[in-house]
């Protein structure tokens, strides 16, 4: 039993790191603009398909696709921002409808270009098993975990130390006050969207290397990312990471101790419990004070 639990814990942490990568983009745009980008899962998917294109056409490691994936997701992110920016009334609500529609368009564009086949990496290196004592993983999962940690640290540093990062936090905290301090919220929001595009590109490539992608995956990714972002609370990068790991481990433990058929249910129960007892999320209040 101990061996089962150890493997579950380990698998949950690895899966959670990818949840975190996907959720960071949503958390960032939600924090900066109070907008939930329902097309974020499709941006991740777009990046995953770029990894497939690079790997299948050139035989290179899928991670070599990150620049191409970023170029594409960055452009789409800017387009999404420019469309959202044109919304004059009820931006929070209308942007939901707009980004939902963009998600559908992106899914169908992916379907048209790449067909409905399932895709995943064929790299022997990334699929090789690696063991740490009694627990096992694919090298692709370990790579994704390390990259997730690095991206998280980089984003945290950017938000704390760069001018744009601090401006994002200022706009997130109080848009009008930020304007009085000479910050142009439009530029800052655009920067947040572009950074979310970078995060989506890394998340998509990581997803491709350790899992299976297909055109219908986008909405599921968005929902999972949204759950993680709400669990974490607005504005907390370490919070997103911890919430994602918590969700991943909870799901994996449910599979081991009960049944996989219950894993989504248990994840949602966790989500509801946190919302009920801690409406600001696990780390939300502390982050806002910071």
């Amino acid at each position: 039993m101990l061996e089962l639990l150890q493997q579950s814990l380990f698998s949950g942490l690895l899966v959670g790191s990818v949840y975190a990568l996907v959720a960071l983009g949503i958390a960032l745009t939600f924090g900066a603009m109070k907008i939930i980008n329902l097309a974020h899962g499709e941006l991740v998917l777009l990046a995953a398909y770029m990894a497939y294109v690079i790997e299948s056409r050139t035989g290179w490691n899928p991670y070599a696709a990150i620049p191409l994936a970023f170029a594409l997701t960055g452009i789409v992110s800017v387009v999404i921002y420019l469309l959202i920016e044109r919304i004059r009334e009820h931006r929070e609500l209308n942007s939901l409808i707009l980004t939902f529609a963009i998600g559908i368009i992106l899914t169908n564009a992916i379907l048209l270009v790449f067909a409905s086949d399932v895709r995943s990496t064929g790299s022997p290196f990334l699929q090789d098993a690696v063991s740490f004592g009694p627990v096992y993983a694919m090298k692709g999962e370990i790579t994704a975990f390390i990259i997730s940690l690095a991206v998280m640290a980089g984003l945290w540093w950017w938000l704390k130390n760069s001018w744009y990062g601090r401006a994002v936090r200022a706009v997130s905290s109080n848009r009008d006050a930020a304007k009085l301090m000479g910050i142009d919220p439009r530029r800052v929001e655009l920067a947040a969207f572009i950074v979310a595009g970078i995060l989506a590109s890394v998340a998509g490539v990581a997803l491709y290397t350790m899992s299976v992608v297909q055109p219908a995956l986008g909405p599921g990714l968005t929902i999972k990312a949204f759950i993680v972002a709400v669990l974490a609370g607005v504005g907390s990068i370490p919070g997103v990471f911890c919430a994602a790991l918590l969700l991943g481990v909870t799901e994996a433990m449910t599979v081991t101790l009960a049944s996989s058929a219950l894993q989504e249910l248990v994840g949602m129960v966790l989500f509801l419990l946190v919302l009920f007892f801690m409406p600001n999320g696990l780390f939300g209040a502390r982050a806002r004070r910071g």
């Binding site: 089962l4 493997q7 690895l14 996989s260 894993q263």
Partner: protein, 388 residues
Amino acid sequence: MIRRNCLATACLAATLAFAASARAEDITIGAHMPLTGSLARSGQAFNEGMQVALRVFNESQSKHRIKVTVIDDESQPAKAVTAVEKLSSDGAAAIIGGYGSNIVGPASDTSNRLGKVYITGGAVSDELVQRGNKNFFRINNNAGYQRGVEGLIEEVKPNGVSIIASTKEAPMLLAKGLEESLAKKGYKVTLHPFDPAITDFKPIINKVKLQDKSEIIFMSAYENDYVGIIRAAKVLKPPVKAIVGAWSLATPKMYSDFPDLMQNVIGTTFLPFPVEVKDEEGRKFAAVYKEMFGKEIEYASTLAFVETMVLSEALARSADAGTLKSGGLLAEMKTTNRPSPLGRITFNEVGDNPNFALSMGQHRDGKIPLVSPAEFATGKLAYPAVPW
């Protein structure tokens, strides 16, 4: 002058009458398929098989020309219902159904209410034939898949079977049927249901490795799940002797997409690969399919080809008898009795095809010989043999 005009008029009238009788009669059918959404891969294969069948049928005779209007149901039951209503109101003579029991169920109910014959090759739930829908017909069923897998298990007699099954309706139906049947025969069976949203199968495979210790893993799932399960098994290497799956696994496409995962994996199928079609109709289907889509025929497209041919022939018979507009199609469907690349097709009193049975094919270096049952085998079963 008058005589000459009369002669010319008579000639013209005769020519027009001949032309009218020689012109093919157009019959329009409707189809709803999941061309987008989570079932798009199967839906597109079904659409391809249907298009080939219509071309083969229309070229085989000149009396009737069958056209199809296809609506994308987006893998959603509500859209499928709307599609059937639209197709019916547009005058479709019959409906070719979609994919997935949860979609076909409400869509065929609607078709039944509207008095339209509905045929499917993409829904295996037993409930579909227990509703008393007199207009419902299908060419495949859960029992056919179960017979194929059970036959293989009886041949190799493993110490136990771990069934890893998606909680979607059709995979779970097959898994539960197999669990019950094998348990009755004295096999140790453990069922591991999984949520379709799962991304990591290692915790399940670890249970198979450390708790079940079964010699066979049976996967009742879909392509993306197969890849995840086999990949997790390659990492954890449970002491199994074979990995077996249900639909859409023993296909050349799976091998070409995932060659490192598919070697020695066994799945249900009805044709070996490279395709060895023994009947004339199958050869024609394979040739036209390759011409139209540039690839070999596959599992889902063959189901669609057969269902469309069956419906087209019944439509033609009904039109010939002049009963198409008075409900004669239903009677013609019931008299169906023909060979096909899937075996003989007949329909029992509830519209099911009792002859449906599948063989088991094993991935072997890019080829898929049939390895079970023995009477249809084109190659020897490699056992024990796993992808790693």
